[in-house]
């Protein structure tokens, strides 16, 4: 099968069967995550519509704001981020280790199971089974399916990793391996202690905050940086500046980054927010070392000797890196006691989380996907115009959608601190920022739709080409014999 396709593709000196070995499972993972991404943007947009027209879904319990928010968040985090993240992880293990993916069929089954889990979870949220914990909205029964799916995919990843060629262990490997075993740990802890055998009282909130921080600010950073540390030197055709600095990023991220997340002045004993603030402030070293590494590797701007197909992924990853640094800075500053009285309970919090998960993680994954999807078909995959449009819409959407929220949050916070300001005045002032953010949401939705069309179009084109080749081969002797197929 491989020989017939590579005849139509430009010859490459990649070992084709390793990349191609993960085609089927990665196609499933990627197309599903693209669909979930579009759905999450759509429902997120519907949710923000209630700010402009509050009566819009008044008669429909399924589409009430709280459920839309929960659904949108779950689809984005579990349907897109985790799925595309795992896909990228698998490809990186295959590519860096120069070994084919083991048990492709099992991986496909795992991917299908994951999507089943997300579907069940979303239907559960719509029907009123939302858990009440942020970033963990999907009910217990869906979480079980997701956990089983992750176990399957994780075992496949671990086996592929074990088969790697000697001497290929790299910086990205450290980060990805840590991510590989950290997610099942935090996910199982959160589901067991919050949903299955719930702990008592505010202990639930502490564990929920721990999980949310470790998912968004640790796991996403691990996989995102792992991806970035591979692609930045590769795409820029340079050497990664310093492994030492990368090691510092890794160790500080897992040692101190995992301690963040407990908001100041929470109804928990004071030592918890204090330790959380200390951990978050110490992640400044992650930001500094990543910034130094990236700047010294990339230099200024994008090198001119890059082939066109590599420029776009590099743009996405660079954008993601800026967003990582900004989100990290917002996280650190927002965790300080004095500042948190301005930013807690305001729009600053979702802006910061959005910048980390969408601005950094999703954009980095887009860059990676734009790079490795063509390697799966050993040929052309994307429509470059759509890809460029996606980048512009996504970048504009992130900036327009999240930065006004951050500013609006600080305004809201400073007004909340003045007890003489009536609450409705505060609401009135923030609505303007929400309106601008809704425009950003529309741009993001458009960008995601274009991405999905591009991706699914590429997959369809590939399989159609396959069918054509098989059809031609099957009917060749009939034609040669002068008959009609």
């Amino acid at each position: 099968m491989n020989s017939s396709t590579s005849a139509s593709a430009p010859s490459s000196d990649v070992v084709p069967c390793t990349d191609l070995s993960c085609r089927a499972p990665l196609f499933i993972l990627l197309k599903s995550s693209a669909v979930w991404l579009v759905l999450s943007s759509l429902f997120g947009f519907l949710a923000t519509m209630t700010f402009h027209k509050p009566d819009i879904f008044a008669d429909c319990s399924v589409l009430t704001y709280g459920r839309l928010r929960g659904v949108s968040s779950s689809m984005f985090l579990y349907g897109f981020c985790l799925q595309a993240g795992i896909a990228t992880m698998l490809w990186l293990f295959v590519r860096i280790g120069r070994t084919p993916l083991v048990h492709g069929v099992v991986t496909c089954a795992g991917a299908a199971l994951w999507n089943l889990g997300v579907t069940i979870g979303v239907i559960g949220i719509f029907s009123g089974d939302m858990t009440g914990f942020e970033t963990l909205e999907m009910p217990r029964y869906a979480a079980l399916v997701l956990f089983i799916a992750y176990t399957v995919l994780g075992i496949v990843a671990a086996l592929t990793l074990r088969n790697r060629e000697p001497g290929t262990f790299s910086v990205s490997h450290w980060l990805l391996i840590a991510a590989l075993f950290w997610f099942p740990w935090i996910y199982s802890t959160a589901n067991l202690l919050l949903l299955t055998f719930p702990v008592r009282g505010v202990t639930q909130s502490v564990i929920a905050w721990w999980y949310a921080n470790n998912l968004q600010f640790v796991w996403f950073s691990l996989v995102g940086l792992g991806t970035g540390f591979y692609f930045i030197p590769k795409l820029a055709n340079r050497v990664l500046h310093s492994t030492c600095l990368a090691a510092i990023s890794f160790w500080f991220l897992i040692l101190f980054g995992s301690w963040g997340g407990i908001p100041n002045r929470a109804p928990v004993p004071a030592w918890m927010p204090a330790l959380s603030t200390i951990g978050t402030v110490l992640t400044v070293f992650v930001l500094l070392t990543v910034a130094m590494n990236a700047c010294r590797t990339l230099g200024c701007g994008i090198p001119n000797d890059l082939p066109e197909e590599d420029r776009l992924p590099l743009r996405f990853i660079k954008f993601g890196l800026f967003a990582f640094l900004l989100a990290g800075a917002m996280n650190i500053i927002g965790s300080l006691l004095q500042v948190s009285s301005y930013t807690d309970f305001t729009w600053f919090v979702p802006a910061k989380a959005g910048l980390q998960s969408y601005g950094f993680f999703a954009m980095t994954l887009f860059g990676a996907i734009y790079y490795f999807a063509p390697t799966l078909v050993a040929g052309k995959f994307w429509c470059p115009k759509l890809a460029r449009a996606h980048f512009l819409l996504a970048a504009a959407g992130v900036i327009l959608g999240l930065l006004p929220l951050a500013i609006g949050g600080v305004v809201q916070g400073s007004q909340l601190l003045n007890p003489a300001t009536p609450f409705m005045d505060i609401v009135k002032h923030t609505v303007m920022f929400i309106r601008i953010s809704s425009i950003g949401d529309i741009l993001l939705l458009a960008g995601n739709v274009i991405f999905a069309i591009n991706l699914i179009g590429g997959i369809i084109r590939y399989y159609r080409a396959q069918v054509e080749v098989i059809y031609t081969a099957a009917t060749a002797d009939v034609i040669a014999a002068g008959g009609r197929p």
């Binding site: 593709a9 430009p10 490459s12 000196d13 990649v14 860096i96 120069r98 000697p166 001497g167 290929t168 262990f169 790299s170 910086v171 990205s172 540390f229 591979y230 030197p233 590769k234 795409l235 055709n237 050497v239 990664l240 500046h241 310093s242 492994t243 030492c244 600095l245 510092i248 100041n264 002045r265 109804p267 928990v268 004993p269 004071a270 030592w271 927010p273 204090a274 330790l275 603030t277 200390i278 402030v281 110490l282 400044v284 070293f285 500094l288 070392t289 130094m292 082939p307 197909e309 590599d310 006691l337 063509p374 390697t375 050993a378």
Partner: protein
């Protein structure tokens, strides 16, 4: 597709020897400064792992310092609890003692609440119905005998609370006073009217 030979110079080389720049010194200095800050921060705000210390308190000693002194407040607290409880007075007369226009007269500034104790005690014990003037306004409603199920202590506490809140400056009511009035009304089932109450002396 990018050409693979680049791979040999990037992260897939074994133990990358290229790119081994040492850690800059200022990073280490910054680390020590931040660790020092962290110790001070935890000392000030961490409450030293005590389960009882919540922000903004710094230690259990400071928390113990800020406990309210016992005394007058206890009696009023008990009365406030009864007032705001589910079977209590706040449901109609509201937490702020202002009542509701057309429905429930106010207790804040009310001459009935601040007047003679025996007059006031009778109202919750037996109820009140018919026309009555409160603070110059005419009211005509029915109040059930919500106080009859309370003990002497509870009724005394809640009436004292009413007489000392929202600007009311009347004297307190003791459980003995309540007991005496209970004896006087006997087993009366009929609510009092405004006229009957005005005739109650002392």
């Amino acid at each position: 597709m990018s050409v693979e030979p680049k791979q040999s110079t990037t992260s897939s080389t074994p133990e990358p020897k290229a790119g081994r720049t040492p850690v800059p010194v200022w990073l280490v200095v910054l680390l020590f400064i931040l660790l020092y800050w962290a110790m001070i921060y935890f000392d000030s705000y961490g409450g030293w792992f005590s389960p009882q210390v919540y922000a903004p308190y710094h230690s259990t000693n400071q928390l113990a310092e800020y406990q309210p002194p016992s005394g007058d407040n206890e009696a009023l607290l008990a009365g406030k609890k009864v007032y705001e409880s589910n079977l209590g007075c706040a449901i109609c007369h509201q937490n702020d003692g202002l009542g509701k226009p057309g429905q429930f007269p106010p207790l804040a500034g009310s001459e009935w609440a601040q007047g003679a104790p025996s007059r006031m005690i009778r109202i919750p014990l037996c109820g009140l119905s018919g026309p009555i003037t409160v603070k110059g306004q005419a009211w005509n409603a029915a109040m059930p005998n919500v106080g009859s199920i309370l003990t002497d202590d509870q009724l005394a506490a809640v009436l004292t609370y009413i007489r000392k809140s929202w600007g009311n400056t009347a004297s307190e009511i003791t459980p003995d006073m309540v007991k005496k009035v209970r004896g006087e009304v006997g087993g009366r089932a009929q609510p009092f009217t405004g006229d009957e109450l005005s005739k109650v002396a002392e």
